[in-house]
Symmetry: C2
């Protein structure tokens, strides 16, 4: 009974950091903070992963991005595979945009500069618990722009609705005959639609049409 009493009051935190001094400082800081409980601290991702085999995963992992052995970016990937619900916050010395950016792509929820004030550290952790993603404006911009790269260039080749529908079925892997059956139209009609699609997309194989459909976000 006594041990289960505070699981909802305190958010559990794990720390992965190879500098022993900094590690102890952080553990103390976290444990002094109301609502946070640093259950374990490790000097490598491997050790933390090992601990996960037996212990309840934490709500938050603070993870040094520049570890020896398995580095921070790799670490995030592994942690998120094992326990997707756990938030990972990167600890970094300098704001190396690329590294932090990679970590975010790999599943990190935000990052924290190592020389942040104790107040800022605690604030960031609570920000993550509240559904936020602590990061600076430069990183945010990189993320937004990369995101846009995947989202925006929605090409328009003047496909009709019917053509888009049939293109969708091509992507779905159906043969002409199967499409005809599904749409209650003749095989020849499907054939005609497909030639028109090919002409508009400027391709002459199914593969080309499907690739274009994905690349230009037509589907």
């Amino acid at each position: 009974m006594p041990s289960e009493m505070n699981i909802n009051i305190c958010a559990s935190v794990w720390l992965v950091e190879d500098n022993q001094h900094y590690r102890q400082t952080m553990v103390d800081l976290i444990n002094q903070s109301q609502g946070l409980d640093c259950k374990y601290a490790f000097d490598s991702c491997e050790a933390a992963i090992e601990q996960m085999r037996t212990a309840e995963p934490p709500e938050i992992i603070l993870l040094d991005i520049g570890l020896k052995g398995m580095n921070g970016v790799e670490g995030v990937k592994r942690f998120k595979e094992i326990t997707p619900a756990t938030h990972v916050v990167m600890l970094t010395i300098h704001e190396d945009s690329n590294l932090v950016f990679e970590a975010l792509c790999a599943g990190a929820s935000g990052y924290l500069l190592k020389d942040s004030s104790p107040e800022r550290v605690i604030e960031s952790v609570k920000e993550v618990l509240a559904g936020g993603a602590p990061m600076n404006a430069q990183i945010a911009r990189k993320v937004v722009e990369s995101f846009r790269q995947f989202n925006l260039p929605k090409g328009d080749y003047g496909l009709t609705e019917r053509e888009k529908e049939i293109l969708g079925h091509l992507v779905g892997g159906l043969s002409k005959k199967q499409i005809a059956e599904k749409l209650f139209i003749s095989f020849h009609t499907v054939n005609t639609h497909i030639r028109n699609i090919y002409e508009k997309l400027q391709v002459n194989t199914r593969s080309g049409a499907i690739s274009k459909a994905f690349k230009e976000r037509l589907v």
Copy 2:
């Protein structure tokens, strides 16, 4: 000569905002700020787009997200089509995550709460000029997570290097014969590789393989 003298000193700003009072306040604020020059202010996206037909596009557009007529999200899309280099910062009253998020996807560089302090307004504009993306942690998290959705699920079907290479050529639209020529191997070998790819991906058509390659980010 005199008119060209300050083009590199002052960043040009346009404002699109339908509340006349707030518009005037903002124009004054921007023009009082060193390094910023609010060249035009409009009460609709349509008016701003019209102006773009004749005037040099600005470096930054401050754009109300809740306009009548063409709304802010639509506006961003149009602006970025016309002048991709221009940064668009959304102006919003309440932090409606979804709307702001959409605007960011559509090309906005950040957003600004309308009740921000004058200092914060100017700071945000300069943040954008410096390559940042002003936004709060909640929005940042949404962006990161959406981004991850596109980036992460990199499936692994145990394809060998050679198979991945050939899958790439299938996506590229090459026929078996063309792949054989490109790789200096026999048609039959390509045939064998493709059957193995199909088996590993659990498909039995080229379309299926290509779709899977895109969906699972194998390429």
